[in-house]
Amino acid sequence: MRKSCVYLYMIISSLILTGCWDRYELEERANILGLAIDLADEDEIEKEPEVTHRLNHFPGGKTGQFYKITAQVAVPGKIKLGPEGGGGEGSEKTAWIIKTFGHTMNDAMANLQQQLAEKLYLGHLQIIVVSREVSEKGVSEINDFLRRDPEVRRTAWMIIDDKDASKVLKAAPPIETVPSLYLSDTLDNAVRFGKLPREYMGKFWIDLSDDGVDATLPAVKVMGNDRLLIDGMAFFKGDKMVGKTTPGEIGAYMGMKEKSPGGYSIIVSIEDEEGVYLIKSLKRKSKTAVEIRDGKPMAFINIKVEAAIEEKTNDSKLDSDTLKKVELAANKKAEEICSELVKKLQEKGSDIFGLGARVKAKYAGYWEREVNRDEQWSNVFKEMEIKVKADFNIRRAGMEIN
């Protein structure tokens, strides 16, 4: 009797305990790999199905904002994998690109779910492309949905496209079957090469929340319909994008923020000598100090760069003395680039270096008296003095002595 009870118990528990209430097999999921968020045109509003609300009955008088969301969906086992997509033909061949409309993110997603047989799954979301138009109006609405949803990973990338975000998702390289993966690899590897700071979505959100720090996102541009150019960094003021750097200025920013490894090269020429030197930064180190002098905040950013000569285009001999000269020239050049970037940011009042947060941490009293609010800080930031000093150390010169 006792024995049979034990057996019965074992059978029942092996049946029950191995089950899962939230079971969705892989092929029952519509894995969204990429999302592109644009503003929809006037005439597209009518295309919206009445899923979460009746037509023209969106509450809150918020009828102005209307998103067009393009999703790149992969349904495992249902998309053709393998080298079938031809080069440069766009991603329609290999993944499924679906357009949907909505007043908010979730509104659009609900509309999308209404059209799909599989359950939408955001756990594999790699990349979220936001058009410049949307980001200039503010991204906090988009963020709320993404932050609330437990499936979304904070390590996904959020990027800005100047014109049409949906075009980025359509870009498909000939060598990768899942286009979004290639796009996110482009960004991940750019981080490894030191071309891009590790500003993925989670970091972006942290910067957005912080007092005295303004956020940045990578900006991209589609090249030839099959790849991405990392086209600088979009910088924000509050949750609104206010400007964009050039790709070269990413290097300056990373230098000032001490983001290693170094990846960008700097081109310098020495006085009374022909030709130029290309110097690649290998390792960056920087010290940011803030001070209050006469009741005004000041910042000193000292950058130390370990570098190597990668190329030169003149006949002169390279030795320790010339190297010193090249270093000096590089210092000057770097300071110039950095100061320009700082000036650009100050004009827009976007403190992406987090100087405000440092002031807040170090001079709490000053912060409470004079600033106290994130918005007020951007005014102070506009006026403050920021001194950038660069110190290049060229360690080696490749395989050539000269």
Partner: protein
């Protein structure tokens, strides 16, 4: 006193404290600390841990003084039967309510972040059933369970915390005493830590089962500070990575931390799964301790030897408590309130008890 063949070693006692302290609240408490004391949270947590430590000291000293009795027993000896019994009922009630609410918190995390379609009733009843089944065993097994799971709890959380180190922004951690925070705000954050770790109290039910109860002081302190170390480091790391403002916006900073972290060298793509598994071990050991206090406490209070029956009766009781809060906000309100009053019961009360025991000269061992 049925103290037969059940010998707990000092290391087991320490691991009981550690794995009990690191439990359900591991994911959420740091948010409430930061709500109170902002950038002063690391310091506040330390203060909170020290407050809890006072309670722990009292508990182990009492344990040394009454090496053959649990808190249920020496309560009656020190305070006399009526008052002692009244406090005993309070203690059992406190742990029953805490058990229910913490189970609910566990279920809310599971429903909110892991398994959105699984009804929380199922999650809750599964967890309580598991604890009920495990608490049927004797005290030695209870200690073994804790000893076995302790490394499985500590290791993944260590990996997450170490990997988080590279993402810290130092300006999140300063000024170290908090920004514009009054002493009251500072302490309100610190007390959350005390509230989160006051469950060290379970050892007062275990000490008499030790092979040598006199060793409880050393191992109790040892276990407590290892547990507190992790608690404080969790606060430092989550604050350092997220900063004050970001942490105020989420329910479970530690979980998000696990999701954001990339282990160096890309050994694992995602470690949040690892973190969650270890967290579930932590939840289990913590809830098991609560249930243990509940079952053993009632058994001893009413001189009722049939633990199985108490376990069975305890199931619907804790289930109803768990199901009681209407929503997640209310649940956290309840937890914070209940554990706040718990401080009096688990920290101040043992100190008081120790003083009374000295005055009335009860308990034989120490002079």
């Amino acid at each position: 006193m049925h103290k037969h063949r059940e010998h707990i070693t000092p290391i087991q006692l320490a691991s009981i404290i550690i794995s009990t302290m690191l439990g359900v609240s591991m994911l959420a408490f740091s948010k409430f600390v930061v709500d109170g004391s902002g950038s002063g949270s690391p310091l506040a947590s330390l203060v909170g841990a020290i407050i809890a430590f006072i309670g722990l000291l009292a508990v182990v000293l009492l344990g040394k003084r009454f090496p053959k009795k649990t808190i249920i027993g020496y309560n009656e000896t020190i305070l006399g039967k009526p008052l002692g019994r009244f406090i005993n009922v309070l203690i059992i009630l406190f742990f029953a309510i805490l058990m229910g609410l913490e189970t609910r918190q566990f279920a809310e995390v599971v429903a909110g972040a892991l398994l959105p379609n699984t009804p929380i009733q199922i999650t809750i009843s599964m967890m309580i059933l598991l604890c009920a089944a495990a608490s049927l065993q004797n005290v030695a097994t209870f200690a073994y369970i804790h000893f076995f799971y302790m490394p499985l709890i500590l290791l993944p959380i260590t990996i997450v915390l170490i990997s988080a180190f590279w993402d810290i922004e130092t300006y999140h951690l300063f000024p170290i005493i908090g920004h514009n925070s009054s002493f009251k705000e500072f302490m309100s954050g610190g007390l959350v830590v005390t509230q989160a770790i006051l469950n060290f109290f379970v050892i007062s039910m275990v000490i008499p089962f030790m092979k040598d109860p006199k060793k409880c002081i050393k191992s109790g302190i040892f276990g407590f500070w290892i547990g507190s170390f992790f608690v404080v480091v969790i606060v430092i790391m989550s604050l350092g990575v997220f900063g004050e403002e970001e942490m105020k916006q989420m329910f479970w900073p530690t979980l998000v931390l696990g999701r954001m972290i990339q282990v160096p060298l890309e050994i694992l793509a995602r470690i949040d799964a690892l973190l969650l598994i270890s967290w579930i071990y932590g939840v289990f050991t913590t809830l098991l301790s609560y249930y243990f206090v509940f079952v053993r406490g009632i058994g001893e209070l009413f001189r009722f030897r049939h633990d199985r029956i108490i376990s069975l009766v305890g199931f619907p009781v804790t289930f109803i408590i768990a199901i009681f809060p209407q929503d997640i906000y209310q649940m956290y309100d309840f937890i914070l309130q209940v554990t706040f009053y718990g401080i009096f019961l688990t920290v101040f009360y043992p100190v008081l008890l120790l003083v009374v025991a000295k005055i009335r000269n009860k308990g034989g061992v120490s002079v």
